[in-house]
Structures are given as structure tokens and as C-alpha cells.
Symmetry: C2
Subunit: 252 residues, 2 copies
């Protein structure tokens, strides 16, 4: 298929490369910053543009992969009758694309992408939504780059995204808080890395409930109180410790 990529951030980059590697043609890459568009265009045998007016009609599918806040304002500037138009957001409803074409959908890859860190798209769950059956067939054809493809409406996709925030952004923030706390005490963060890896490995083959250990799970008041005492001058971390400890105990 011929695909036009609107955006050059992490999701746009990884998706465009995976589609190109799977044999699709990337017609154009748009970014407000031409040099960013050029980087991705170079990697996908494509043409870089930095004006929405320069988007041509040679593609079958137009994928808007930009910040959530900007999707609608880009979509309302595009008029692509007869073309398939797609966004990649976990949160934005599919209907915001209705202005641009009579065929539209969502291709939401559930992963955290970083610059300079390659990912294997085949392992990434992809959630699809569309307004017509034909549009769904186009999405499924693109989604063959993944082994885990699901259909989900905007409401379900929002729930998946919320769960992703819990396990990704919030866990990563706990790593951040641990890093800050250890740094203040002149202890290097890297001592935690084997533990972080093992915590992840445990939930690959058992439920998180089964994997849980630690003072809150055991109801070990004296350790919990010793920890709170250590945090008494750090009201933010104190509150987080209390709230999560209470929640673990409620679930034990």
C-alpha cells in the first residue's frame, strides 16, 4: 500500500520504518520541521515536506501520528476524499477524522517508543477502529506488521491507554523517585536494576497478585513505620508511600 506519514516523532518514525520494511511505499513524510521530516524520509525512501498544502493524493492511506492535542487541527486542514485517514492515539476519538474523508480509523500501537531504540513491531499489540468495514480491512492489512491485532472502539482504547499509563508512566516515575531518593543518600541507582528486571520477569508468567511480596503485603507494620520515618522530610514521597501501601493492603 502507499502510505503518507504526517508527523516525525517516535511513533511516526517506528511505524513508518516498520511499514516500509514490510514492503509498503511511504509516499511523503510531513513535519513542521523539514529537517525532522527529512531524517525519516531518508530512512524510508520517501520525500520530506513541511507544508500540509504539499501533501499529494498519491497515497492510499494518510497516517496522522502527532501529539494528541494537534490531531484535530491537522485533520480539519486536510481534505482527502476517497482516501483512508488514520491517527495513532490511545485517547483521541476516531470521529475527529470525519472532516477529512469518508473513510477513517485508528491504528494504536501499545508501546513506549524512544529515539535510537529499535523495537520489534511484531510483538507490539495494535488496536484498530474504523468507521466502515472497508476501512477496517485496510487497517488490518497495515497491521500485519504485528502478531497481536485487536479491534477496540474509542472507549476501550481509552481504557487500554489508561492501563498503559499505570504500568509505564507510573512505574517509571517510581524508578525516578527511587533514583532521586538514592542520589540524595549517595547510593547509585544501578544497584536497583537487577531487581527492576526481575520484577518485570515475574509478571511474565504469573499474575501481579501472585508475584507480590514486601512489607505492605506481609502487613509488616514495623518496617512500614521505619520507612515512613525515613520519609518524614519528603512530604511528596511520604504521601505516595502511604497511598500505595494502603492500596496493597486492601488488595492482600
Amino acid at each position: 500500500m502507499k502510505v503518507c506519514i504526517i508527523g516525525s516523532g517516535n511513533v511516526a518514525t517506528h511505524l513508518a520504518k516498520a511499514l516500509w520494511e514490510a514492503g509498503h511505499i511511504i509516499t511523503q513524510v510531513y513535519s513542521r520541521t523539514l529537517s525532522n521530516a527529512q531524517l525519516l524520509a531518508d530512512e524510508t525512501d520517501s520525500t520530506a515536506i513541511d507544508r500540509l498544502d504539499d501533501i499529494n493524493l498519491f497515497a492510499d492511506v494518510y497516517i496522522i501520528s502527532v501529539k494528541d492535542e494537534v490531531i484535530f487541527s491537522i485533520a480539519e486542514k486536510l481534505s482527502l476524499p476517497g482516501k483512508m485517514i488514520v491517527h495513532t492515539s490511545g485517547t483521541v476519538p476516531v470521529e475527529v477524522l470525519g472532516h477529512s474523508s469518508e473513510q477513517y480509523g485508528v491504528f494504536y500501537p501499545l508501546q513506549t517508543f524512544s529515539k535510537n531504540q529499535s523495537v520489534s513491531f511484531v510483538d507490539i499489540p495494535v488496536f484498530l477502529e474504523s468507521n466502515t468495514e472497508d476501512a477496517m480491512n485496510i487497517l488490518k492489512s497495515l497491521a500485519s506488521i504485528s502478531d497481536q491485532v485487536y479491534e477496540a472502539d474509542s472507549e476501550e482504547r481509552k481504557k487500554v491507554h489508561l492501563a498503559a499509563v499505570l504500568v509505564n508512566n507510573f512505574s517509571n516515575h517510581l524508578y525516578h523517585l527511587a533514583d532521586d531518593f538514592l542520589r540524595k543518600n549517595n547510593i547509585p541507582f544501578h544497584i536497583l536494576k537487577p531487581l527492576i528486571e526481575e520484577t518485570t520477569r515475574k509478571v511474565m508468567d504469573r499474575t501481579p497478585a501472585e508475584a507480590q511480596t514486601g512489607p505492605a503485603r506481609r502487613g509488616d507494620e514495623s518496617t512500614i513505620n521505619a520507612h515512613l520515618e525515613l520519609l518524614k522530610n519528603d512530604p511528596e514521597l511520604y504521601e505516595i508511600y502511604k497511598v500505595l501501601t494502603k492500596s496493597i493492603r486492601n488488595h492482600s
Copy 2:
């Protein structure tokens, strides 16, 4: 060295096996439940006992690896003059062992251990504390099963343990909450596994601050409000979402 293992839980089991594999002799394995002691004794060419009175004097080192709450009550029943006595807790001060012998210390491996899940001890950071230099030399000799050995006093060890609770118990609890939330919405938890793995992989070679993404980091109010709206009937998760989102924004 000759080592007596007091306890047969996850830490006791993994530690005893690693010491035995490194060539140390396990003289006896004690557990209140003889069958548990026997399981570990069988794996380490040792003898199982279920009475503290049956602990003999043939070992050089006696390692108490039991629940924090029980360490002191076991230690005060042991009188082992001339022997080295050790516990493996992150939180309990070293001094609780002072009753049992004039030589004592702590061997704290920073990892989450599970039954039936082997771990490579060589990668596990170990934190040592002792009351004499001779005792430290004995601990260091045992700790050669690890490539990451640190000396840390009881106060530092407690801080390391607190950081471990943040990245292990608390992250795992977020997985648990995500599992519950998805389950209520008939979405399987396994869709999150690639994301959980990638979240961990990212902090292996960059700081958690650099790795952070998501609506709180971007200050994306509309997504945050949409998520809170989804959680309005779940006061516990609502509070956790708010507290962690606020903290991410404070650190961005």
C-alpha cells in the same frame, strides 16, 4: 566454609543453593516445618532439623534467613560463642544478633526471590555489615557468589530497602491495579506485557527522568481528565492516579 541455614523460605533457599554451588558446605537446614527443611537439605547435601536445640556447633557461619519479625526471637534463643551469626534482612538492625555471639553481621541480597524461579546470584547486589573486621572478612568470602558487593550500615541498608519497595512492590502493585482494571473491562492483562518489558529496558541505559513519557509529563490536561473520568467510580485508583500524576508534573 561450613554454613548452617536457619530458615527455608525464598531467600534462604536461593542463598543456600548458591553457597553450596560455590563449594561451601551446608551443615544443617532448620525450619519449623521439617518437610520444608528437608526439601532444601536434599538440594544442598545437608541435614534437616525442626528444633533450634538441634543446631550443632560444626558450622563456621549461622545464617538466619526468616521473616523480619522472627529474627530477634530466634537470635535470642541461640548461643553460639566463637561463631559468626548473620541475618539477611534489609530492615532489621545488625545489633539484634549481639546476644548470640560476639561476631555478627548482615548479608542482604537486593532481589525478589520466588519459589521455582532460579536466579543468578552473581548479578545480585549484596550489602554487607558486621561488627568486627574479621566478621566482615567472613561475609566478603561468602559474598564472592556475587559480582556486586557493597558495605552498608543498617541506616544505609534501610534506605536501599525502601528504594527496593518503590521499584518492586509498588511497581508490581501498579501492574496489579492495571490487571484488575482491564479485567473489569474484559481486556486481558497480557496485552500490557510488551510495554512492561520495554519500560524496564529503557531504564537500563538511561535515567528514569529521561525515559519518562505520557500525559502527565506532557501536561496533557484533556487526557488526564478523560482518565480521571473513567476512574470516578473507583476512589482508590482515582486517588493513586491523581497523586502520581501530580508528582510526575512536579518532577517534569
